[in-house]
Structure formats: C-alpha cells, structure tokens
C-alpha cells in the first residue's frame, strides 16, 4: 500500500474544497486565479489516477484509516475515473472562461464552483449508498446557489424550483437507502451486490423504485425534465455549462453504477421503459429546441434531448460491454460539447447584446472562432464523425444490431437529423448578412481567452472521437 498522503483519491476532493474555501475568505469576485491553479492540480491528479487504474485495476482508499462501515471508503474504478476526467477537463477551460465572463464581478461564483467540484468528485468516488446521498445533496446545494447567482427574479424562481425538485428527489432516494439498510443491514455497494437476489422482498423493490425515480428526476429524463430548461437556460453561461455538462451526468452515473452493480437483476425489469422514455426525450427535447426563440433555451432543450441518448443504453446493457461504452462515451462527448455550446452561447449573447436567435444575424463576422466552436460542438451533438458523439451513436447502433433490436437504430439516426435541425438554426442565422438588430443589452467586447476556452472544449469533444480505444481500455478496468 503506498503512502496514503500521496494517494490522489482524497486530494481530488480536498483540493477544490480548499480553493473554494479560500476564495470565500478572499471575498466576493476573488479567487479565480486560485481556482486555475487548483484545477490544474486536479487535472493532473485525475490523469495520474487514470494511469494507475489502467495499469493496476480499480483502487480504493479508506478515509482517515477508519474503514467501512463507520468510516467512508472511496473507490476509483474505470467508470469513476472516466467521469472524474470529464469533470476536470470541463472545469479547467470553464474557469478560464468564467474569469473573463465575470469581469464585472463574480459574486460567490468561485466558492460555489469549488464546492460543486468537490462534491462531484466525491460523488464519483463514493462506494456506498449513504455517502452517495450526502454528495448528491452537496452537488444540489452548490448547483442551486450557482443558478441563483445573478439574483435576477427569473433566476431565483428557477433556483427555488430546482432546489425543491432536488430536495424531494433526494428525499425519495434517502428513503430507498433506509429501506435497503433495514433489509440487508449494509449500504456498501460491494457488500450488497451478492445479497440482492432475483426475488427480493417487497421493501427492496420499493427502495429501488424510490431511488431510481429520484435519480431519474435529477437526470431530467422525460417526463421529469420540466425543471431543467429554466434552470439551465436562465443561469449565467459558465454556470449553465457546469450544470449541463456535469451535474446531470452525476445522477446518470449513479443510475448506471447501481444498475450495473448491486441492482443489476432488478434494473433489467425497467430497462425497456427507460429506453422508451429516452427515445421520447430525444423527440420532445429536439422539437422544443426547434421551436424556441432564445439561444440558451435552445441549448438547454438540446440537453433534454441528448440526455435521452444516455438512457437508450439501458435496454442494451445486459448483453455485452458495448452499451456501457456507448453510454459513457455519450456522457463524455455531450459533457464537453454542451459546455462548449453554453460557453459559445454566452459569447454570442455578449457580442450581439441580444438573447434571441434573430439577434444573431451577422455574428459569423464578429466572433468567428466562437461560431466555429459552436459548429464543432454541434457536430458532436448531431453525432457526425469523427466526433465523440458519433462513436457513442456507433456503439449504440452496434449494440442494438448485435441484439436484433433494430428500433433503437432508427431512433439514434433520426435523433441526429433533428439535432442537425436545431444546430443549423443557429448557424444559418449567424451567417446571414444584414443589418444587425439593435442590441437590447450593452454589447461587450469579448476577450480572446473566452473564445479560445470555448474552442478548446469544442475541439476536445470532436477529437474524443479519435481516442475511443483508450476509453474502452479504461472502462474494462475494475467493472463489475
């Protein structure tokens, strides 16, 4: 056992907590530089961890040397490391972006962002149901604070709605945990796995139902998506990016983890329903994105649609590893692309002084790099090659064909065409020459660092499509 002080696992949680707290002490609007240093460190830690896991398999860490059941165990397997990497890779360019975006005053953005990242990293490393509950709540609290950051009435209302949804769903989840503990006397995922049988007592069915519903609502799967567009569409651009790219993925990750881990035999019963809800989400989210007049709402509705793809993986999970790879690839590709797209939307709104699609006319000439980034992110969302989104869809189609479930293929390909519809709504408008409409907000000069951070994220989402082999190698490590 190596020196516990050198283990990257706890540091991934402590580091963001530290710079978040320091930023709070430093006062409103300060701490951006600190965050950059901390995030660079986190990215390094996540990479080290990834190498360790690929080389020597999953690894765990007993916090403080206590060990379960009273202490907390952290666990890093391939799936967790993939999500950790996504989190740090998205967060670092977002921090660069946010420093420029919040030039007028960041409020409490930096402390909240630090807490959010600490909570997310802790969530991905959790190895028991109760610790998952605590980290879920921490993620929600930080996220709600971020949504309310601007203090505009719409933002506060969206934040309050978001908070109540989060609290209710966490409550449902915790009830499930209580029932599971009552039946099995443990909440450790590893200990539970052999205990849960095909014919469990009623209380376990109830518990799985409550936990599942709670997590589904947090992931905003249709028909629980109602809270997402106002919360994500209304927040400040860097906040929307973090929420859409990372926060909704956290609950998806948990669903995947539970469905593959202790509750594998029970999850199969609901898999078909989840897949169908995912298909409906793709259609409904895309349809709304095709109709809305606001740029950021378009991007937010696109999140609803893209989350649907994640759930197409569930009916195909049982047979082989393809569907899991597809789900994780889609989570990563969408995370990067959506962070880029919200960042791009933020730049476009600053540069044109308008928040509607109609106001975008001629933007191609003013912020070409950002528009290019938007288009690259769009390629991922449309699932066109060689992007990460394409690989995700290819894997899904491959899995569906292997299992003779051809219907999903139609959904995947049709969803890509719908995505093309809403992505090109934006691009067409931006290429249109013509007198720009009068800005309704002051037009800001856009700093180059914002444009480049956006571009970097978008480029990463596309280049991910050339590195599928590494992801597969990572996922095959330490999976149940």
């Amino acid at each position: 056992m190596p020196d516990p002080f050198l283990d990257p696992l706890p540091w991934l949680i402590l580091l963001p907590l530290a710079w978040g707290a320091l930023a709070f002490v430093a006062g409103p609007g300060r701490g951006g530089g600190l965050a950059l240093v901390g995030l660079t460190g986190q990215l390094g830690l996540a990479l080290v961890l990834a190498v360790q896991v690929v080389e020597s398999g999953a690894r765990s860490h007993a916090v403080g040397g206590w060990g379960a059941p009273l202490g907390i165990d952290l666990l890093a397997d391939g799936l967790a490391v993939a999500m950790l990497l996504l989190t740090q890779v998205v967060a670092l360019p977002q921090a660069v972006y946010a420093r420029a975006y919040f030039a007028q005053g960041a409020g409490q953005f930096w402390p909240l962002a630090g807490f959010l990242l600490a909570a997310l990293n802790a969530l991905f490393l959790s190895a028991d149901l109760f610790n998952i509950y605590v980290t879920l709540e921490l993620v929600s609290l930080a996220a709600v604070g971020l949504v309310a950051l601007g203090g505009k009435p719409g933002q506060v209302a969206a934040a309050l709605r978001y908070l109540l949804v989060s609290l209710t769903t966490s409550g449902a989840y915790l009830m499930g945990v209580a029932l599971i503990y009552g039946v099995y006397g443990t909440v450790s995922l590893a200990t539970l796995a052999p205990l849960v049988t095909h014919q469990p007592p009623l209380a376990v069915w109830l518990a799985v139902g409550l936990m599942g519903l709670g997590l589904l609502a947090k992931t905003a799967l249709f028909p629980f998506h109602f809270w997402l567009p106002p919360a994500h569409g209304g927040a400040a651009a860097p906040v929307s990016a973090l929420l859409s790219a990372l926060v909704v993925k956290a609950s998806f990750y948990l669903l995947l983890r539970l469905a593959l881990g202790p509750f594998v035999s029970l999850a199969a019963e609901a898999a078909l329903l989840l897949g169908m809800l995912g298909a409906v989400a793709i259609l409904w989210g895309s349809w709304q994105a095709l109709r809305t007049v606001h740029i950021k709402m378009l991007v937010a509705w696109s999140t609803v649609a893209q989350l649907g793809y994640l759930f197409l993986a569930f009916p195909l999970l049982a047979a082989d590893g393809l569907a899991l790879q597809a789900g994780v690839m889609q989570a990563l590709a969408h995370g990067l692309a959506k962070a880029a797209m919200f960042a791009a939307a933020g730049v476009l709104m600053l540069a044109t002084g308008r928040d509607t699609l109609a106001g975008l006319a001629g933007a191609a000439g003013r912020v070409p790099l950002t528009l290019f980034a938007f288009a690259l992110a769009g390629i991922t969302l449309m699932g066109l090659p060689p992007s990460g989104g394409f690989l995700a869809k290819w894997l899904l189609i491959d899995a569906a064909l292997h299992q003779g479930q051809v219907g999903w293929v139609v959904v995947v390909i049709g969803g890509g065409l719908l995505a093309a519809g809403y992505v090109f709504r934006v691009l067409r408008q931006a290429f249109l020459h013509g007198p720009p409409e009068a800005p309704i907000q002051p037009v800001h000069p856009v700093s180059r660092s914002m444009e480049w951070a956006t571009f970097l994220l978008a480029a990463a989402s596309v280049l991910l499509g050339l590195r599928g082999v590494e992801l597969v190698a990572l996922l095959e490590r330490g999976m149940p």
């Binding site: 605590v134 609290l141 604070g145 309310a148 908070l163 609290l167 409550g171 503990y181 009552g182």
Partner: protein, 91 residues
C-alpha cells in the same frame, strides 16, 4: 409488532404526507416545511428498522445525524431563496 416497526411505519406515513405536500402545495414556505416532514419520516424509518435484536445499531444513528445536518443546510438555503423570491414578488 415491534416498536421498531411502528416507528418505521409512522416514518413511512410522514414521508408520504410530506411528499404529497411538496408536490401539491403552492406556497414556498409550506413546501419547505413539507420537505422537512419528508426528511423526518426517513429518519424515523432509519432508526426504527435499525434496532436489530433490541440492540441499537450505531451506523444508522450516524446516518441520521448526517442527514439532519444536510436537511438543516438545505432548509436554510431554501428559506433564503424563498425570501428573496418573496421580496421581489411583494415589491
């Protein structure tokens, strides 16, 4: 019927009441209170089901304590937001 089971059933009842409140009520303050009811229900279930062979089990006790801390923090945030929201409604 053991006392533990009675606690647990009462907890489920409180949870359902609270859940109904959060979904059906309109006013923010009532919904926040309803959420606290839900939380209390869950804690009762945890404590109630955890009495194995009459000996208290320390693990769920620790969980309930943690849960209470989380619930208090969440309630504080919800109240602050509701007030801010309410102030603007009034203005």
């Amino acid at each position: 019927m053991t006392p533990g089971l009675i606690f647990a059933l009462a907890g489920v009842g409180l949870f359902v009441l609270g859940l109904g409140g959060v979904i059906l009520l309109a006013q923010s303050l009532r919904r926040i209170l309803a959420f606290n009811l839900m939380g209390s229900g869950v804690f009762l279930v945890l404590v109630g089901l955890a009495q194995r062979d009459g000996n208290p089990d320390p693990v769920p006790q620790a969980m309930v304590l943690t849960g209470i801390v989380v619930a208090v923090a969440a309630t504080a945030l919800a109240l602050a937001l509701a007030r801010q929201f309410g102030d603007r409604e009034d203005a």
